[in-house]
């Protein structure tokens, strides 16, 4: 029979998992880009890859301490944002979309190719970079928690670390978006020529937004690799689309939307995959193999998101009033 307790407990774990935190932070970066500024960045996976590889390579190849490795990742994403933004932010919005989607793929292929195997580990990726983070862990060794939320010291540490970064980033975003800076940013989303006519350097604001949201993506990429290894196949374009799904689920121009959206996304995904795997095992779907069941969860999540978007198009936290004016 199906072990429902196990399915629900696995799903519940996703609520606070570091992966959920990473997706929430990456989605918050996209909220800055798309929800607040109106920039179409389809390369958030590239920013995440830069965080992951920037951190791992700095640690493994150059033996940098944690703080320096983090700074390298951030620096790389600032440079990446400048390279993407300088030629495209003066042009129409769609140019940025095309360039970001291509640039993120180029990054992934560079990390995958055998040419730089010594540094990137090519297709098999990198591991063994977690020592520095583990050494900073103030929690004494042991097992803590209750029910499904029972973890060892390292697992608690990376959860605390990940969610602390998410909360700080959310507070920061909240405070800048209610400031005059945020007003200019939202004005640009509505009509950048109007904002230009009022004496604001639109190009510079768009660049600041691109860099800031990209740095959030990079930090998300670092959180993402704490519970796993760095594998280039994780940074495909589909990653960016999942993050967009989370953003639209929660509400594009909101602070809590990306965070709660990420929780719902991962809980649903875990629930569906757990359920499908066990249902196939129990012979509920005789026409289906385990592998097919694994694919089906994405279809089910897609349907769930479609329903949400149809019945609540502004997202969970979005303002219904705003949507009634969308052209």
């Amino acid at each position: 029979m199906i072990d429902w307790i196990q399915i629900f407990s696995n799903a519940a774990q996703e609520l606070i998992s570091p992966t959920t935190a990473a997706y929430a932070l990456a989605a918050l970066g996209l909220a800055i880009h798309f929800g607040y500024t109106g920039l179409l960045n389809f390369g958030q996976a590239g920013f995440m890859a830069l965080g992951a590889y920037g951190f791992a390579i700095s640690t493994l190849t150059f033996g940098f301490p944690v703080w320096a490795s983090v700074l390298v990742g951030i620096g790389a994403s600032v440079v990446f944002a400048l390279i993407l933004g300088i030629p495209t932010l003066r042009l129409r919005a769609d140019y940025l979309a095309i360039v970001t989607i291509a640039a993120a793929e180029i990054l992934r292929l560079i990390f995958t190719t055998n040419t730089f195997d010594d540094v990137t580990g090519s297709a098999s990726g990198l591991q063994g970079y977690k020592g520095g983070i583990a050494a900073l862990n103030p929690i004494p060794p042991g097992t803590y928690g209750f029910g499904p939320f029972t973890y060892n010291a390292y697992d608690w540490w990376i959860r605390i670390l990940g969610w602390t970064v998410v909360i700080l980033a959310a507070l920061f975003t909240w405070s800048i978006m209610r400031s005059p800076w945020g007003r200019v940013i939202k004005g640009i989303r509505e009509d950048e020529d109007a904002v230009r006519a009022l004496g604001k350097n639109v190009y510079s604001y768009k660049m600041q937004s691109l860099i800031l949201g990209g740095v959030f993506g990079t930090l998300a990429g670092m959180i993402f690799i704490l519970p796993r290894a760095v594998v280039p196949a994780n940074y495909q374009t589909s990653l960016t689309f999942f993050i967009y799904a989370i953003l639209l689920l929660g509400g594009a121009a909101t602070i809590l939307g990306p965070i709660v959206g990420s929780m719902i996304f991962w809980v649903l995904l875990s629930f569906f995959s757990g359920f499908m795997a066990r249902a196939v095992e129990a012979g509920w779907f005789p026409f289906m193999t385990q592998v097919q069941a694994g694919q089906l969860r994405f279809i089910l999540v897609g349907i769930a998101i479609m329903l949400l978007v149809v019945f609540r198009p502004q997202g969970i936290f979005g303002n219904k009033k705003e949507l009634s004016f969308v052209r």
């Binding site: 405070s175 400031s179 200019v184 939202k186 004005g187 989303r189 509505e190 020529d193 639109v202």
Partner: protein, 303 residues
Amino acid sequence: MSDNGTPTTPVKTTGLHVGEPAPGVKKVDPIIVADGVKRTFGGLTAVDVAHVEIPRGAITALIGPNGAGKTTFFNLLTGFDKPDEGKWEFDGRSLAHVPAYRVARMGLIRTFQLTKALGLLTVLDNMKLGAKQQTGENLFRSVLPFLWRKQEEEIEEKAKEILTRFKLDAKQEDYAASLSGGQRKLLEMARALMSDPTLVMLDEPMAGVNPALTQSLLDHILDLKSQGMTVLFVEHDMHMVRHIADWVIVMAEGKIVAEGDPHEVMSDPAVIDAYLGAHHDADLGDSDDEHVHAMKELIDDEQ
């Protein structure tokens, strides 16, 4: 001020030019001087202005048939478009290669033919965005509200004052998208005033505005002059032009074809030619569009 809605007879500014009125005539005190400004789109010459001066402290109307190049000329003057050649200056400073946002900071603020209210910002936020030199618009200072809170309060006070003058104060918390077409034109003009401009350029401020609002719009334009600002505006309605303009510049097929006092310029054969010529050729389709658009905004206003 004449915001009580009763029509007033505006005081016309005279003695603006030196010598006989003719295209490119010298002005006593020009605020804008343009020389050889040319803009082509493929084979089409949209603007080809040999020389023009805009008088300071007066209301100048830029008229001409559809497609004459008025909007393109506005775009060139304000840095929203780049000319093929030519130079032009504002207040004695060259504006060639100056980006649009810097032009605005120098005190030359424009509005758009197709209104650009920022729909998903409140009316009040639209206004506040217009204020210049805001400390909180810097990303690093924006996270420290104590650095900008006081300035923000001052800006808000000023915004509310102007909104009251434009009778939009009751709408200040509403999204700009909820305003009618005419109210959006008013908001765009009110927002332009937040930066204390020296020159205000209005592209068809009356187009599609409910007749009930036109008088108030006219009064606001006259107000700008009485507050010491220079106004350059594009308009089709000859009655309005005659009513408020101190000086009229006529464009046709990209060129300045006539200039002068609003009453005299209408009898200039070049002007009659320009308009009749335009009505004889293909431009009728354009103006039909405009009527449809005007009707739409009218219906909008009625709701």
